[in-house]
């Protein structure tokens, strides 16, 4: 695997739209060619080299390409958007839409990210060492086909509207989650190691949510049906099992009605 290191030398005055910073776009290119890729500051298009210094070169394919971002990328959006393979490491913070619509490969952000990260995700891994903003692993606005697959792991807290319209894949939040988790969900798994604020699983049809701490304001549409022992993220624990959202339609599979499940740790 070949590594390209890009360092933010001239930080933008506005936010930078960096959807071209993906292994797919960097693959097969030398440093000078990578420096000519388009980025947008507001509505103004510029070459990537205006803001970043570029070292190294891309591998033959996306899967052979690793990108390392250095410098303060707090204002760089859309890193790794729609990437299909390869690896990205952001040494510090990053802005919104990191790993949006990604299909494969791995992104590791060592700091915090802002909202809309991992939205419309279909596959791959998105690892955040710090906190994530709102709409983590959510569906793009208006879209009813949310996260389809892949893994999002956030060590810290997440904002509100995590995993809206989730259909598949797994989101693991090490800390707390704000309101609205898996709203309209029809599959997938969300694991919250800390507390959840409320409105967890609203209008959820299918899928699982695990909460290790407490749900401050649980929804009345979920009903306690028993206790279960489950293996979650490599460790086994006992949970109270709720089904719901009872106000929503539910499919019938092999004669049995399928509900969404919320598990809270006992």
């Amino acid at each position: 695997m070949k590594t390209v290191t890009i360092t933010l030398a001239n930080p933008p005055e506005l936010y930078l739209e960096g959807q071209n910073i993906t292994p797919d776009n960097f693959a097969g290119k030398k440093a000078a060619e990578i420096a000519t890729l388009d980025v947008w500051e507001g509505k103004l298009k510029s070459p990537l080299g205006k803001y970043f210094t570029v070292e190294g070169e891309g591998g033959a394919t996306a899967a052979d390409t690793k990108i390392v971002l250095r410098g303060d990328c707090t204002r760089v959006k859309r890193i790794g958007q729609q990437m299909t393979a390869g690896e990205i490491v952001v040494e510090g913070n990053a802005d919104m839409y990191i790993g949006g619509w990604m299909k494969g490969g791995k992104i590791h952000v060592k700091g915090n990210v802002d909202s809309f990260c991992g939205i419309g995700m279909e596959g791959g891994e998105l690892i955040i060492d710090g906190n994530a903003g709102h709409h983590l692993g959510s569906s793009p606005r208006g879209e009813w086909r949310g996260m389809q697959g892949g893994l999002i792991r956030v060590a810290g807290d997440a904002g509100n509207d995590t995993a809206t319209f989730i259909n598949g894949g797994t989101i693991i939040i090490g800390g707390n989650a704000d309101i609205h988790v898996s709203t309209h969900g029809e599959g997938g798994t969300v694991i919250i190691k800390g507390d959840a604020k409320g409105r967890v699983g609203g209008q959820m049809v299918k899928g699982d949510i695990f909460v290790y701490g407490t749900i401050e304001y649980p929804l009345p549409g979920f009903q306690l049906v028993g206790e279960v022992e489950q293996e979650v993220d490599g460790a086994t624990a006992r949970f109270a099992h709720y089904i719901g959202d009872l106000g929503e339609r539910h499919p019938v599979s092999r004669g049995k009605t399928v509900y969404a499940n919320i598990y809270t740790r006992l």
Partner: protein, 568 residues
């Protein structure tokens, strides 16, 4: 404006029965003229290409409140599909494109006239503001009458003359073009949570049947002598077994003949008939009844239809048929918008995916094509996709490809998951017919123009008509062996001349000539009773005053008035 001559093309003009003759078309000051009338024209070399009049779309939902709600509640329809700034204005969206994209894309396909299929009268200012913002193409809009309280009351009491006076007033108040009827009575019943599932189901409170609404509006239309006929979206649309209801509705037109001075022969235009040609009694055993439908249509020349072809895309359904949209929502569980328009109509919107993996979708695809392929008279059978209900209008070239090429149909059918079941439930696999360029010209310009009563202005290339000419890079003596070339040629015309101005060249918009709003102004005798009824209804029931209800001149963009005098 200058002069233009289009030389050596193969000209297809069904209005003059010109079937691909090599001839020159002269243009002067925005009109078609004899070539002898030209002095020093610029030349367009159309050698080896097909020359037709600018396209005319009989039925398409392109402007107005429900289209705009579709745009607003489907932001995902624009995701990664915009912005594409190719022309003066931003283009975005797919199934519910922005007004700008609508105008540009129609022009790229060689269309010049689009009839907005349903205008809620109360919201006519919105419709006209969007017409103004839709570049290049001329628009007309049909106000909906089939669930209007005035109409229901007049027709219940057999007051055709009063209904005619009201109709004339409403056409003027909304700057409307023709009488549109959507699920007659059923949309009003929807206000009670009900529907009229056959033409004999009485409307709650008003106690009138859809059959009586349909015949009453046909009589009203011919009493006034409007350019277009009554334009019907029939009851029980989109449900298995509904071909019976379509036939029942057709039969209501028996005995009526067209009375007008606009060259129109039909008294009933039945729209998107694909949605009304289903046999069976459930989604499990739905099948095609196009043979029954087209046997009837072929034998009765006072009827025209358009097909409403399913294009197998992800699209957005939108109609004034409120109960139907609710039904659709319960089938696919997607988001749904619904509204009531006081005293007049309602509307619903639901996104819909017509997938080659779904049996019902592929049967619907076959049904639309069968309607056209079974037609004996393509001057009475038009291409539409009921945009955006069965698919976006940008797929017309693909529909043309399917109609012109058995190989293209076979190629598409190969992608069907339920091919055997589709072939069992339809007759598409037994049809070898391939339509000709002349027949396509009938279905996309001459026929619709004649049915709309505007064939003295649009849809043909006779001297005196508007200089709207579309040139396609297709040689009728050497048609491409690859059917995709047909689709490409109709998607991006070689030239579009609108009002004598070269508007599109090689599929790109190069000029934006002024667009027009076409409406119908009917002169009727003074009618004190109707004046009083309008005053009363607005006083008691409407949330707006009658003065604010009628369209302000400021809302009307570049009008072209078609005058009708029914006092004679």
């Amino acid at each position: 404006m200058g002069e233009l001559i289009i030389k050596n093309g193969f000209v297809f003009d069904p209005l003059q029965e010109i079937k691909g003759d090599r001839m020159d078309i002269g243009i002067k000051d925005g009109r078609i003229v004899e070539t002898s009338a030209l002095s020093s024209p610029k030349t367009i070399d159309a050698a080896g290409m097909a020359v037709m009049a600018g396209g005319v779309d009989v039925h398409s939902h392109v402007v107005g409140p429900k289209v705009n709600v579709g745009r607003l509640f489907r932001p995902e329809d624009k995701l990664f599909k915009s912005p594409l700034k190719r022309c003066d204005r931003m283009e975005m969206g797919f199934s519910v494109p922005s007004t700008f994209k609508t105008g540009y894309d129609y022009a790229r396909m060689g269309y010049v006239f689009v009839n907005e299929a349903a205008m809620p009268p109360l919201h006519s200012p919105h419709v006209h503001e969007e017409i103004r913002d839709t570049p290049i193409i001329d628009n007309a809009a049909m106000p909906v009458f089939g669930n209007n309280w005035f109409t229901l009351e007049y027709l219940k009491n057999n007051e055709i003359e009063n209904n005619a006076a009201y109709t004339a007033w409403l056409l003027r108040a909304t700057r409307g073009f023709a009488i549109k009827v959507v699920n007659p009575g059923g949309t009003e019943a929807w206000g009670w949570g009900l529907n009229c599932e056959s033409i004999h189901d009485p409307v709650p409170y008003f106690d009138i049947t859809p059959a009586k609404i349909i015949t009453g509006l046909i009589e009203t239309n011919e009493f006034l002598g409007l350019p277009h006929s009554m334009h019907l979206h029939c009851n029980n649309l989109g449900n298995p077994g509904n071909y019976v209801d379509a036939l029942d509705s057709f039969k209501l037109a028996e005995g009526y003949t067209a009375k007008n001075t606009f060259g129109r022969d039909q008294v009933l235009h039945m729209t998107h008939v694909q949605f009304s040609s289903y046999g069976g009694d459930s989604w499990r055993n739905i099948d095609s009844q196009t043979k029954e439908i087209m046997d009837y249509v072929n034998a009765h020349d006072n009827i025209t239809i358009d097909i409403g072809q399913v294009t197998l895309d992800e699209t957005t359904t939108m109609t004034a048929d409120g109960p139907f949209e609710h039904h659709l929502r319960s089938l696919n569980n997607l988001k749904w918008a619904n509204t009531d328009v006081e005293l007049e109509t309602a509307a619903g919107i639901v996104p819909y995916i017509y997938s080659p993996n779904v049996k019902v979708s592929t049967i619907q695809w076959a049904i639309g094509l069968e309607l056209a392929l079974y037609s004996n008279d393509l001057m009475r059978t038009f291409i539409t996709t009921d945009h955006p209900n069965a698919g976006p209008f940008i797929r017309y070239p693909r529909v043309i490809k399917w109609l012109m090429s058995r190989a293209a149909r076979d190629e598409t059918m190969k992608t069907f998951k339920w091919l055997d079941r589709t072939i069992e439930s339809t007759t598409i696999d037994s049809i070898d017919r391939e339509l000709t360029l002349y027949e396509i010209a009938q279905m996309t310009r001459a026929g619709p123009a004649k049915a709309l009563g505007i064939s003295n202005i649009y849809g043909g290339l006779a001297p005196g008509m508007d200089a709207n000419v579309a040139i396609y890079a297709l040689n009728p003596e050497d048609m491409p062996s690859d059917p995709d070339m047909i689709e490409n040629a109709f998607s991006r015309c070689a030239y579009l001349v609108k009002d004598g101005i070269v508007t599109v060249r090689d599929g790109e918009v190069v000029a934006e000539p002024a667009k027009r709003t076409v409406w119908v102004d009917v002169k009727v005798p003074e009618n004190a009773q109707v004046q009083r009824d309008i005053y009363e209804h607005f006083l008691r029931h409407y949330s707006v005053g009658v003065e604010n209800y009628q369209l302000f001149e400021a809302n009307l963009h570049n009008p072209r008035v078609i005058e009708v005098d029914s006092t004679q």
